[in-house]
Symmetry: C2
DNA sequence: TTGCTTAGGACAGGTTCTGTCCTCAATCGA
DNA sequence: TCGATTGAGGACAGAACCTGTCCTAAGCAA
């Protein structure tokens, strides 16, 4: 029946006798198998008459997906970018799905995926959060899923590097960073680890019995460990352009509030002024900076460089 | 056996008697079923002895993937971003995979996916090519796969809008744009359509017999229809910073060639100067513009705006 | 060495599947 | 309207397969 399901997925439309020939069964048996698929919840439509046939429709449940090699690699690549945050709100699910796909990938597809990753630039080179290696994320996700203890090197905030042996519980995406909530075997206590500071994760092959978290869930645990550190710069700039035009460029990385027909207030919270400078440079509109002072300095410096570039030709 | 496969995919490790209990079969039958899966090409590893059990390994082929609802939505979202070009070289495969996943998605998951897409910003708001609606791409991909004729509205280069009835052949990704190669029924000839100019695509339910292209493949056909239009601006800028530092920011959208220890040549081909201006503004390094003249003007204009912003505080 | 797990053969009994034959019904084109 | 072509599905005989039971063998960790 997997063969039948596989055939139905590769092509939308199949005349019954063609399917039967492919599966080397009689027409009656083919109709019985179709009926069995339907009983299992798959939606197989049929058309009688001239040019009749069968087709698998989206039904009550997603059937097992039978993927070509290239498709599997594309799925893994897409999930990697989602796990990196390009699709807000799906990071954790993307990592789970990626772990599942990667765990089952034949080695030759795994190598193609890795080769692709190594020659793919990050879609957002000025990353808003630290870059997290998708391979590390995937390994951690697998360990969480399988209740398998792991070891890794960890660099904490005060730059000490330690070797850790932990029982991973859950991965949490919070504020553009990934955290691993795990039981630290050496410290005999729960810890929350920034994934961007994790390196050389290794599966140990040892399984453990999952422990109860001291908090209601992993997200709560991670938050409890926070001292609320506001982002470094709160940018406020008045831009003399319509809000919708500015929004188009800013995207989801800032808030744009109309203050007049052709003026708006742009607010951003950032750790680096690089991106607001880039943004303001590209807006073909006058603007006035309300805060912070550092942004004015950065703009002045950029203006000097851009101005000097304009002048350079004149001297030739 | 799908139940067994499903269980093996959800968790790495299963003792045999636990699996047997879950499936409500005897241990012997469980071992027979495992053997059948192995005969079908799945790699099921087993460990005897204390803490023994079964686990599904990546083997010679990717097994059918059994996905949770959230995982399917994450896969679709990731494929959408890949189809949009965030992962170079996989656009066509991503669209194919997306078409397959979407075709089989139960309506409730389809709605969740659409809802997510409508509230997701493009990962690159300053798109290098025209934005292509992933839903349109998916519809076109399905029609290509199923040899089903479609209709759509089309705005050609000279802004005429026409209604078309075509037999789609192939989607081609070329130079950051998507093209549909199809047989136009009304004009009785092959045509290549820019997907960003397609709207309201509709499946007709009518299948057709695939025709032979007049060229060797669809890519050749699309290229034959090109007048080679060079991109509008060829940017050449000398930057007084190390090449690797500049590369980090530029990513794959420009070429960076070292010309000295702490200087390099940046070359980009763009249709809009917006992005080079942004880039140069954010580089904390002096630079000299070799070409084009328009970039100097744009930098001077940006410098004026950024400079004015710096001056605004002084007046307060 | 012992206990715990998987591996797999032999067997009886029961269950399911298959192909054949057939009627019925829907669809499409002439 | 009619004929051809497709799917739907019942009845039947025969074959094939599956299951659980019982058992021995083997690998692994304590």
């Amino acid at each position: 029946m997997l063969s039948l399901l596989s055939l139905l997925q590769t092509h939308r439309y199949w005349p019954g006798d063609e399917l039967a020939a492919r599966l080397d069964v009689s027409g009656r048996t083919l109709r019985r198998d179709i009926e069995r698929l339907r009983d299992l919840g798959y939606s197989v439509d049929a058309t009688r008459g001239v040019a009749g046939g069968y087709q698998l429709r989206a039904g009550g449940q997603l059937p097992p997906l039978l993927l070509e090699d290239d498709e599997a690699v594309a799925i893994a690549a897409g999930l990697r970018t989602s796990a990196a945050g390009s699709v807000g709100g799906l990071e954790e699910t993307s990592v789970q799905a990626l772990a599942k796909v990667v765990a089952l990938m034949p080695p030759r597809l795994r190598r193609r995926m890795d080769a692709l990753a190594s020659q793919t630039d990050s879609p957002e080179p000025w990353s808003r959060g630290p870059t997290v290696d998708a391979a590390i994320l995937t390994t951690l996700a697998q360990a969480c899923r399988d209740d398998e203890s792991i070891t890794f090197d960890y660099v904490s905030r005060d730059a000490d590097s330690t070797h850790r042996r932990v029982e991973p519980h859950r991965l949490v995406s919070l504020g553009r960073r990934w955290y691993l909530v795990a039981w630290d075997r050496d410290r005999q206590d729960w810890r929350s680890f920034r994934v961007d500071r994790v390196s050389e994760p290794g599966l140990t092959g040892q399984r453990f019995r999952a422990r109860d978290l001291p908090t209601e869930d992993a997200l709560t645990f991670v938050r409890a460990g926070f001292r609320a550190i506001p982002q470094r710069y709160a940018v406020r700039v008045r831009v003399d352009a319509p809000a919708d035009r500015v929004s188009t460029t800013v995207g989801r990385w800032g808030d744009v509030t109309p203050v007049a027909d052709d003026a708006c207030l742009l607010e951003m919270k950032v750790d680096s002024l690089e991106w607001p400078v880039m943004l303001l440079a590209s807006l073909d509109a006058p603007f006035a900076i309300d805060a912070p002072d550092e942004l004015r300095s950065a703009c002045a410096a950029a203006a000097a460089r851009l101005g000097a570039a304009g002048a350079a030709r004149t001297l030739r």
